[in-house]
Point group: C2
Chain length 423, copies 2
């Protein structure tokens, strides 16, 4: 009778990748392998949902043990990820039905979708349409986003590592600027990610402890940018401390909603493609204050920086992957493992299931009490929240001076459908 | 009789700081402390040569043992560095005489100047004027530059760590781009330092092994930029591999010498202040090829990244500091400890003294045979040269998730001169 209930599992990565999304993959795969007779084959979508639509599946069990172990310390999306948002069921029923068709052809009973808010929405809709079409499918979301903006979970896997990278880099660059400010660069601007929420920018605030320590100015998306107030603060910092370190979120914007650096292009989700807030801010400083400046844009470096990943983050990324499978095997459909903070000092956390319908398409912004009254820094409450998330180092193995990241073989599963799906 | 020969030592940091310049400071200080009766007080110039000119000296022996030990793992210039170039003796004899006046007042018999080519020139001139003025002074240069462009030394302390950072970051960002290229970013551009020499850009080449692996295009200062050839290569890479990772040196320029991104401002040395080659190159790709792109500018992050320092580099930085003192105590004046490569596999190196007059103001560029015939990559010979320099990790200690870098107390030495020097 057990034979009859055995179903295959499909895992897919979605959206912007992180330093630890593959650790979640490892958590999913390890738990599937340990499921005994409950889960048969373990498949992954090549390039995420795109692989599912095009029936381009990877047979994960054909990977070596060493590769599967290596996923835990390898950044980016080992199976390929996609920026590909499925529209509402009414607008694009054919796509959802195609997915169910592929799932049916490959006897997939468990779908693990590793992504952010958009992906949780897709997983939810798939579980609904599966039920409508009479195809039994358990869909579980696996949270992932460097933006840390998913609701109902204390934090999002991927965030802790980018937070650690940004805090470490800010501390290091600040020492550089401080040591040369007397005769050289006085203002340094670092641009970090975070389209609508300032969590990543806030993490830079961990670099210093006191007002005289960098960063002296953080520009959050939550606080409308006012040039005059900003310039006054920069000038004060240079006067008081000899230099000024500024961290600007890519999502920093004026009161009217205009981003500081709107490149004018949009991605597949219709989101504005940003970049260049740092040179823009540096230009303001040069024009109005005349200080020598430098600027950096961390871009993908920050979210790919597995070499400086947070140990807490790696552990949580793995744990949500593992929990997703456990929830699925308990028959819990349309849920997501969320991280629950039990205490901050000492840091204790656990995992619980939350319904996807409460997660999908809700953005969690920074609470106002995490940002100082003047809008340029983080509060003690914010620090208490952030500190445990960057705690601990989890170094990858090195070979010839470089991290020994793994690459999958990616053996294709034989196609079963005659119909083809074109992107 | 020994008492009579005891002299104080002055150490000063100069120019752009690095992840390991403080390791050289530690080497100098430890060797001074071990010199027995030969060296008395150990002073450091606050903000480098500026501190020497203004008689603003730091008493290094007042620092705790923990701080002095911590220098080895702390990036940037702990004593402060300066971009302050002394002109030729004929043009500015007063400045050199002022330095000798300060040295005489504080009984400084040994001067250790930790910097690049300009600083080696200053150390040389100081040794000459000391001799002309009948003030016995031993000047020893301590090599330091991320640009790796000093002659007569196989490599320059500071370079190996920035090389490791750039190679690691390129590998990580490339995995990110590769995993999403099908539906998202196809071209990623990373801008790295290296004003006139492409050593740092070359280090990015270590990230991949084969033609299909990133970086697919490196833009060296040694190879004049040709837009058409560049765009063709990018297009080919996207066609063949699905994506293209480009590493551009800040010093990349057209055949007529114009930098790709000349910001139009100049620093204290009269050098053009660069920045923005990455967005410029990305803009070309968008305009002519239409690919979705991302770009990053590492700027100070790369040279301050002590968290991912090369173990080889840290060891060499410390060793040249130590050797500088040993040479000085042997009475060798106007020399610089140079790193000599004895073999690449296994990597063996030693240190010898080279005369400052052969080092000063000579820039070592990449040999042409280190760059592939097409000008876009590194050769096997380059790889053999670079690989040992990024070998090994030398992690700093962490506290609360952040590197536990030290800050000096910086106790001032009592002024002895009535005259003041204004910058």
């Amino acid at each position: 009778m057990k034979k009859a209930t055995k179903k295959n599992a499909l895992y897919a990565q979605s959206g912007g990748v992180t330093a630890v999304i593959n650790a979640s993959a490892a958590g999913v795969i390890d738990a599937c392998l340990r499921s005994g007779s409950r889960i048969g084959k373990i498949y992954a979508g090549r390039d995420g949902i795109v692989g599912a639509l095009t029936e381009d599946l990877i047979d994960v069990t054909k990977e070596s043990r060493a590769t599967l172990r290596g996923l835990r310390h390898t950044p980016a999306g080992a199976f390929g990820s996609a920026r590909f948002k499925l529209k509402g069921i009414d607008q694009n029923r054919a796509e959802y039905e195609r997915l169910i068709e592929v799932f049916r052809a490959h006897d997939i009973g468990y779908f693990f979708y590793n992504g952010g808010g958009d992906s949780m929405d897709t997983a939810l809709k798939l579980s609904q349409i599966g039920s409508q079409m009479g195809y039994p499918l358990v869909c579980v979301g696996v949270p992932k986003t460097v933006d840390n903006d998913l609701p109902l979970t204390d934090c999002c896997p991927g965030f802790g590592s980018v937070a650690k990278y940004v805090a470490v880099s800010t501390r290091e660059a600040a020492l550089d600027v401080a040591s040369m400010a007397r005769t050289s660069t006085k203002v340094f601007v670092l641009e970090v990610m975070g389209r609508h929420a300032g969590w990543i920018a806030a993490a830079a605030g961990l670099a210093g402890r006191n007002a005289n320590e960098a960063p002296h100015v953080i520009l959050f998306p939550e606080i409308p940018f006012e040039q005059q107030r900003f310039l006054e603060r920069v000038k004060q910092s240079v006067t008081d401390y000899g230099y000024c370190v500024i961290v600007v979120s890519e999502g920093a914007h004026y009161a009217d909603g205009r981003f500081l650096a709107d490149a004018g292009t949009r991605d597949a989700f219709g989101h504005t493609q940003l970049g260049g807030a740092a040179p823009l801010v540096a230009g303001m400083v040069r024009e109005h204050l005349g200080y020598k400046y430098h600027w950096a844009v961390a871009d993908y470096l920050q979210r790919a920086a597995r070499h400086i990943a947070s140990k807490t983050d790696v552990a949580q990324a793995y744990a949500v992957g593992k929990a997703a499978v456990e929830f699925a095997l308990e028959g819990r459909n349309a849920v997501m493992p969320a991280i629950v903070r039990k205490s901050s000092k000492p840091y204790k956390w656990t995992i619980k299931a939350v319904p996807l319908e409460k997660v999908a398409n809700v953005e969690k912004k920074m609470p106002r009490n995490f940002i100082t009254a003047d809008g340029f820094g983080i509060t003690a409450a914010c620090r208490r929240y952030l500190e445990p998330l960057i705690a601990g180092e989890d170094y990858p193995p090195y070979r010839n001076g470089l991290p020994d990241y793994v690459r999958i073989k990616g053996a294709a599963v034989k196609r079963k459908l005659k119909s083809r799906y074109e992107l």
